[in-house]
């Protein structure tokens, strides 16, 4: 096999190196996650998920999760309360803003679709507009649950997650719709508190503290999923700002048109 590969050592890509060299590097650190890239790939992939590495890595154990290392630490008398993962690798805010971005885009497109299908739904009514806005937000988050599950099933990611470099890895290797739906529902319930005012503030804070303390969220522990993050360079920052500028522009124009 003369295909050249790049291997991610921390945040530094090493390569181009041969397939055999990549396997040697991976076997030197079993139980860890190893990301590789070769020409033709759109993004970095975990080596063990690629068919090319299936045979070579069959004898290696899967990567250790935070839950496993914490349990192992306790079992051999490790210090209780010690962080199970390097907190620099957790990036809770990237995950938060990735989801917010996704919900915004979904709400804009879904709202447009609703307006086309059922124009009366956005007609003026006598009830308070703040109540309607809040209800719309709650419903938007609920409606987003199956949509996110479908995106994870079909594409393995969502627009916001791709933009912020957040990668989900299910326990079984490939994302199944039912598992994706379960995860999305758990995030909506445990993370966002059903998007209910005040309640969501508490659930988000609790989820944030748990992630910082344990290295994973309760829903990822329940379903045994893991979350990785790609490099965050200048170009990604610029792309994120440009996308948010675009969304802001659409909202401002729609608000202006709504008032006319």
């Amino acid at each position: 096999m003369d295909t050249k590969w790049f291997y991610a050592e921390g945040n530094k890509p090493i390569g181009p190196i041969s397939f055999e060299e990549v396997v040697r590097l991976i076997k030197a650190s079993p139980g860890e996650r190893h990301f590789v890239w070769t020409e033709g790939m759109a993004e970095w992939h975990e080596a063990r998920t690629l068919p090319a590495f299936a045979d070579a890595l069959r004898s290696l154990p899967p990567p250790l999760t935070a839950a496993v290392t914490e349990s192992a630490g306790r079992a051999v008398g490790g210090p209780s309360g010690s962080p199970a993962a390097d907190s620099r690798l957790l990036h809770p805010w990237r995950r938060y803003f990735a989801r917010v971005f996704d919900v915004y885009v979904f709400t804009l497109c879904g709202g447009f679709a609703l307006g086309v299908m059922v124009p009366d739904i956005f007609s003026e009514s006598s009830t308070s507009s703040r109540v309607e806005d809040q209800l719309f937000t709650i419903l938007a988050f609920a409606a987003y649950v199956p949509f996110e599950a479908f995106c994870l099933y079909a594409f393995g990611s969502t627009l916001g997650k791709t933009l912020y470099g957040v990668m989900l890895h299910p326990s079984g290797g490939r994302i199944v719709f039912s598992q994706a739906l379960k995860r999305s529902a758990l995030v909506w319930l445990k993370g966002w508190g059903l998007a209910l005012p005040i309640v969501s503030l508490f659930t988000l804070i609790i989820a944030y503290n748990r992630l910082k303390r344990n290295g994973s969220t309760s829903w990822d522990d329940d379903l045994k999923w893991s979350v990785a993050h790609s490099q965050f360079g200048t170009s990604r920052w610029v792309g994120i700002l440009a996308c948010w500028a675009g969304i802001t522009f659409v909202i401002v124009v729609l608000a202006y048109l709504g008032k006319q």
Partner: protein, 212 residues
Amino acid sequence: MALHVAFLLFAALPVLVVSITGDRNKIVTTLCGVAAAGASYAVETLLIGGLTASGIRISIGLEAFVVIALPEEGLKYLALAVIVGFATSGKQIVINSVFCALGFASAENFLYTIGLRQVHGTTDLFSLLSLFRFFMPFMMHVAAGPLLVSGHCIRGWRPLAGLALALVFHGAYDAVLMLSWPASLRIAYLLIIAGLIASAFVYRHATTVARD
């Protein structure tokens, strides 16, 4: 003027975002889509002129499927086949088709924003129609992208089957809008949603089936 510039930037936003990723394949593919948009307008103008000159009545069906859908989807397909090249992995083909469609739709919206201002000035109607183009034609092109190459990704299909599928989808979308039925907008949007779901399944299938 500022509003016009803002809408032009918004129309070009997908191309700008792809450009700063530094991914050579995505940038080339997106720019091929931009070029295909420019070329398709020339072809459509020639077709309309030719058909008119030869006295053929341009029905809604002829305009939607032959004058509009055929050049646009055909040139996108040509760009993917000849310039970008069909990649060895099904997943990469689908990704290329989406970025080609992104470039095409962005260029189309950019040009339409210029045209809309010439007709409407920077009025509310200009803003409404410019945004409309993002939520409908743009999404329609993005939905058509994976359909265009589905023939290369689905076992048993022939490559041109994908092009035919995209032609039917795009033509039906345009025909429905041109017919100006009371429910035209709803049917067109339902078509877009169906196209997006079908495209998602094409992508899913392309990543699960190993290609030769």
